[in-house]
């Protein structure tokens, strides 16, 4: 099968949706002639014009509000927030408007909108351009949260996101944009709430998201040589969360480690281990472990940044601590 990048996979879906659905449009900062800060919308402004691919002012409140209002009257906007760090410039719109409109108004409207945004460190972009904030809005009822780790998943999940009639937050990891992988040419959808087993194993379950999936896979190869067989599960969506797949794995391995780039405290891992403690306690033979970013802002200097962000060694140690 052909190999394309995570960026190209996302681009293909946006291009396809703009082509087939006149209600779909894009809006965001620098998504026009430039093609977005990370190049995902490259060429789309030139192809579809500035009505369908809308370069916006630097106004996250207006971007989220405009997307929400347009969705409430029948459009299907796909907004880009350049970095997830900027999401909370539009905090009220997200938390008090977008998330609540349908429920609060007694189910009178649908809000088919997608907010694509960028997470992750690794580029020395420092404290305000490197966070992984996917857990924050997972706490607010009213959003679905998607966090793809591969080009294949990125394509199928973005297709589903645009087809969904609810607000969807779509988190793209900036270090994955150039990653290549097998992606079918035809369109396909990956349902939300269906985790993917990225590696089968029998000794320990690792639940990982975004770039941490790939770090965990490398650690698993290393542990294989030591006779430890790691199963790696990528939930792919945090809301809804596929606990069945995770629990089924834990029934087999009796041990679990959650790995994410989000900060450790109150992060998505806390939710997953809490649910495991609640729903799978009888199957566990070891303490539940979490690996996340240290609880400080992400520093700029490369050696400081990599110290704060989970590295393969951190994942290795966490896994070893539950299997030994």
């Amino acid at each position: 099968m052909r190999q394309i990048s995570y960026r190209e996979a996302l681009h293909e879906v946006l291009d396809y949706e703009l082509q087939i659905n006149p209600d779909v449009f894009l809006l965001g900062e620098d998504i026009g002639p430039l093609g977005g800060a990370f190049g995902v919308t490259t060429g789309l402004w030139q192809k579809y014009g500035n009505e369908r691919v809308r370069n916006t002012p630097l106004s996250e409140i207006a971007i989220v509000g405009a997307a929400t209002g347009a969705a409430s009257v029948g459009m299907r906007p796909v907004a880009e927030i350049m970095f997830c760090d900027f999401l909370f410039v539009a905090g009220d719109q997200l938390i008090n408007q977008t998330a609540k409109m349908r429920y609060m108004f007694g189910d009178q409207c649908q809000l088919p909108l997608v907010i694509r945004t960028v997470i992750g460190a690794g580029q020395s972009a420092a404290a305000q351009h490197s966070q992984s904030l996917e857990g924050l809005l997972a706490h607010i009822p009213g959003f679905k949260s998607v966090i793809p780790s591969t080009p294949y998943d990125a394509k199928g999940l973005l297709k589903t996101a645009i087809e969904d009639n609810n607000p969807v937050l779509f988190y793209e990891h900036k270090s994955l944009y150039n990653m290549k992988g097998e992606v079918p040419e035809e369109m396909y959808s990956i349902p939300f709430g269906v985790a993917d087993v990225k590696r089968k194993g029998k000794d320990v379950t690792v639940i990982a998201t975004a770039e941490m999936v790939h770090k965990s896979l490398r650690v698993a190869d290393r542990l294989q040589k030591e006779g430890i067989d790691v199963e790696i599960i990528d939930p792919r969506t945090l809301v809804p969360l596929d606990m069945d797949t995770i629990i089924n794995s834990v029934k087999k391995t009796h041990k679990a480690v959650v790995v994410h780039e989000a900060h450790l405290s109150y992060g998505p891992g806390a939710e997953i281990v809490a649910r495991l403690a609640d729903e799978a306690f009888d199957y566990l033979d070891a303490p539940l472990k979490r690996v996340g970013a240290k609880d400080v802002p992400i520093p700029m200097a490369p050696h400081l940044e990599s110290f704060v962000i989970p590295q393969e060694e951190d994942i290795y140690k966490a896994i070893k601590s539950v299997v030994d």
């Binding site: 209600d23 449009f25 009505e51 809308r54 916006t56 002012p57 106004s59 996250e60 409140i61 207006a62 989220v64 509000g65 405009a66 997307a67 929400t68 209002g69 347009a70 969705a71 409430s72 009257v73 029948g74 459009m75 906007p77 009220d92 719109q93 008090n96 408007q97 409109m101 349908r102 429920y103 609060m104 108004f105 007694g106 189910d107 009178q108 409207c109 649908q110 009822p141 009213g142 679905k144 009639n165 609810n166």
Partner: protein
């Protein structure tokens, strides 16, 4: 432009808002209604003048002080009152209450508990209308307090630069909650801010329904004709506190009484009688009918069933 039917619609709309609000205040004081209440009494000419200048399909969005906008847009008093009672038959099935009434079937796309929070959303509705070529105007109501929010700035700037069919109606009632305008912004005319966005700014006498109607019609026509958004400031005054229970240490009774002399309903009644558009007995009958409709809405609200608690947790997503 002014004929008997239209004058009647204007007057009865204002009376309906006033009587509905008086009833709501009474029921709230009697602890019959749960939640909080922000009365629109005194500002009736703004909602009425603006909404009567619109087409039925046009969008409006509203504020925490939103009952007047809903009524002027023609929503059902029964479903509104039932919502105030928190009943299943209310517009939001009891999930929204006074601050969150919406009736999408009437273009009323939602009241808002966040000051200024609805402005970007209304801007999005204008964008949707433009992109789908619906020919609808999106009107956003908000107050002087909201004009200091970042959301106001971002939304108006976007609407101007995208030439959206939006009308931003600032109900300047001179108080941001409990803070007088002179203490919360260094201008008197909020409409001046339109200049900063390169959009048309206008001022109406918010105690005069004809002034509001005339300016709103111009703004809506401009929006519909592709001439862009307008910031329309309506100078008005609320007779009651920011919320029911507000001790109002920030103003005097004398100030309130002075404003009541400009009462929009009394002024327009005089106008229609002097211009022989309606007779006193016609007004009396109309008022009587409105009171009956409100009383009927109260009975409906009281008697309606509560939503099942399971409904509170079953419809987050489509």
């Amino acid at each position: 432009m002014m004929n008997k039917d239209f004058a009647g619609e204007m007057l009865t709309t204002m009376i309906k808002i006033r009587l509905f609000e008086e009833k709501a205040v009474e029921l709230f004081a009697a602890k019959e209604l749960p939640g909080w209440l922000h009365s629109y009494i005194g500002e009736e000419a703004v909602a009425t003048g603006v909404c009567l200048a619109l087409n039925p399909g046009d969008y409006i969005s509203s504020t925490h002080r939103g009952h007047g906008h809903c009524i002027a847009k023609g929503v059902s008093l029964k479903a509104m009152m039932a919502e105030l009672y928190g009943k299943k038959t209310g517009y939001c099935h009891g999930r929204g209450g006074s601050m969150h009434i919406a009736d999408f079937s009437k273009g009323m796309i939602g009241a808002n508990g966040i000051v200024g929070g609805g402005i970007p959303v209304a801007t999005g509705a204008a964008l949707g209308s433009k992109m789908k070529k619906m020919g609808k105007v999106s009107v956003c109501f908000f107050g002087d307090g909201a004009s200091n929010q970042g959301a106001f700035h971002e939304a108006l700037n976007l609407a101007a630069v995208w030439n959206l069919p939006a009308v931003y109606v600032c109900e300047n009632n001179l108080f941001a909650e409990t803070t007088p305008q002179s203490e919360h912004q260094h201008i008197n005319d909020i409409a001046q801010r339109a200049v900063a966005y390169g959009m048309f700014g206008d001022i109406a006498d918010g105690m005069n329904v004809l002034s509001v109607y005339e300016k709103a019609k111009l703004a809506a026509d401009r929006a519909r004709n592709g001439e862009g958004p307008t910031l329309l400031e309506c100078k008005t005054y609320r007779y009651r506190g920011h919320w029911e229970g507000d001790p109002q240490p920030y103003r005097t009774k004398k100030e309130i009484e002075e404003w009541k002399k400009k009462d929009p309903i009394r002024a327009f009644q005089q106008y229609v009688i002097e211009n022989r558009l309606l007779t006193e007995s016609e007004i009396e009958k109309a008022t009587h009918d409105i009171q009956a409709e409100i009383d009927e809405a109260v009975v409906y609200g009281r008697k309606s069933p509560l939503a099942d608690v399971q409904e509170a947790v079953c419809s987050l997503f489509v």
